[in-house]
Symmetry: C2
Subunit: 348 residues, 2 copies
């Protein structure tokens, strides 16, 4: 089995810690290893680093090769330009030698967290068996732990295999409203779409060429004339693998992941996984809280001292400080946008 | 006329900006010049820097000589040890040559602010005339601008000179409760005690020797045997000039200072003198506020970005961040105390 880790993201949700050249997947938000390194570590008992492929951007490729010395450097693939997940996955699969591409390939985001990596690997092996046995295309959904409105969902369909819990995906749904999400959560009829896929590479490529012939032709052309990659790649339609393939497939199977998954989508989400002290403060790095409650204090450099404040995110890096209410931490994008409009490239 | 600036303070109220070796009087809280430099600048049209004396500690003397190149270096006096204002003033006066010591001397704190320095100097000259004419000991009180409970007060007594407004001080009072302060403010019978004094040096020294003979003997001994200063000075009673002399004097006169005085006693007090933008935010240095109101954002190094917060003090230095409600900014001492107990000398 091979792993293809998608590590091209350039998220701004962890500003000021995350920057253009140090996006979330390269950050060690907890502990010593970055989220990308943790992704490789988590796979290692099942998929060795020599079977790991990483798709990223040219700007990040060197940093990623440094973070992952155990992954063969030529398996860190640098897209000439970000074109969403369908071109990225297609081009990465075509970059693998043919015999490798015919194996089961797990496609994984680089920046998620799994509290229980053992359970994750067990589910991965069950999925791999289904791919090998029936050449299925699979997506692994996460068993909802609350009525989240910020994720897409997979609607569960017919049971395929009672032994493993393998089921058909009846449909993909977009982010629901609160009532709908509550229904999904209570009825246990839906899983969170976590962007984790399994398939034979060759199988996925044939589906992709069928549904998105323009991408298929482009991939074929680049395979024949690799020297034209930088010219052809940016002309591929920018479309996600969900829209391009998954939602159009006649049959797609799923297994529920129940292993403490988090997409760590915001400072607030990070706060939830850090241990709280008696006052509900969660801290990383050199911090001091007096008469303060339920704050996230995150220092990458220097000390943070707070007194008499509640429910805040306070982040300190070598060159910046962020202070905002924890429950508005999605809005950090507004800060990044403002610095961008001020052309503060030093802070982006 | 001579000026004696008391610059030995080691306040913690402006942590993290203020540190042991960079106390408040050495900070440029607004603009380019430190509060000490501003004190010298403010005096200059009336008292030239060559007539300025500074009493400080050994730890700060070099930094002060650098900040005040126009003051003769030997007039920057370094106490062997901090012993409160009575020993400091007595020893500083004895360190002046006798003919200088016989002139009017204005004693001033190093870390206060005057919005109207011209009015300050005019009052200073009126006070000087009273000292020269009648050899008075004077204290300049500040006309209250609100019912402050954090200061001591001077109770106004009989009018001495209707032309200049010179009046006797009937009594000194400690920090009042809120009702009493309100009464003082409405009745216009009291002035804020700002720790600004004027007298002939020789006159003050004779009063000091009379009221505090132990200090008098110590000063005499050090004058005869200057090489024993480091041994004798620390044995002087630690007492303020108010207790030692001012409150015991048969007669002390005052003039009201009405010139936008502030002792800049806290981050909140600093906020009040910085200009506010449309949202009531006051900022110094590189800052960004989105959807935020009435905050003080003070950056000495790096950027501060806040979103959705109100009424906070956020201060950033090269090695620390402070976040607290503006109206609790007096409590910054608790933070310094905690770092002291953690032996974080790097932050003190």
């Amino acid at each position: 089995m091979q792993a293809l880790i998608l590590a091209g993201g350039s998220g701004t949700r962890f500003w000021p810690l995350s920057r253009r050249l140090r996006p979330k997947q390269l950050l060690a938000l907890e502990g010593e290893h970055s989220l990308l390194q943790q992704t490789v570590d988590r796979l290692a008992p099942t998929i060795e680093p020599t079977a790991v492929w990483v798709c990223t951007t040219e700007a990040l490729a060197d940093a990623i090769r440094q973070q992952l010395p155990e992954v063969p450097p030529h398996q860190i693939l640098a897209e000439p330009e970000g074109r969403n997940t369908a071109p990225a996955i297609g081009w990465s699969l075509r970059s693998m030698p043919e015999e490798i591409r015919n194996e089961p390939v797990a496609v994984l985001p680089a920046d998620h967290r799994f509290a229980d990596p053992t359970a994750f690997r067990e589910t991965l092996l069950l999925a791999k068996a289904a791919v090998e046995r029936d050449d299925r295309v699979m997506t692994l959904g996460v068993t909802p732990r609350w009525a989240e409105t910020g994720y897409g969902y997979l609607e569960l369909g017919d049971e395929i295999d009672p032994k493993t819990g393998l089921r058909d995906v009846a449909s993909f749904t977009e982010k629901p409203d609160a009532d709908t999400a509550q229904g999904y959560y209570q009825d246990r009829t839906h899983l969170w779409n976590a962007g984790i896929f399994l398939f034979r590479g060759t199988t996925l490529l044939s589906h992709l060429a069928r549904f998105e012939p323009e991408i298929g032709r482009g991939l074929e052309l680049m395979a024949q004339q690799p020297e034209r990659t930088a010219e052809i790649y940016p002309t591929l339609p920018s479309i996600s693998i969900d829209y391009a393939v998954m939602e159009r497939l006649e049959s797609i199977a799923t297994l529920p992941l129940d292993c403490g998954w988090s997409d760590l989508g915001s400072w607030e989400a990070l706060a939830e996984i850090l241990p709280a002290n008696g006052d509900g403060n969660r801290a990383q790095g050199d911090t001091l809280a007096i008469d303060a409650r339920d704050n996230l204090l995150y220092s990458d450099a220097g000390t943070i001292a707070v007194l008499g404040v509640e429910g805040l995110v306070v982040v300190r890096t070598g060159d910046a400080v962020l202070v905002m209410p924890k429950d508005r931490s999605q809005e950090v994008r507004r800060i990044v946008k403002e610095y961008r409009s001020r052309q503060r490239n030093d802070l982006l």
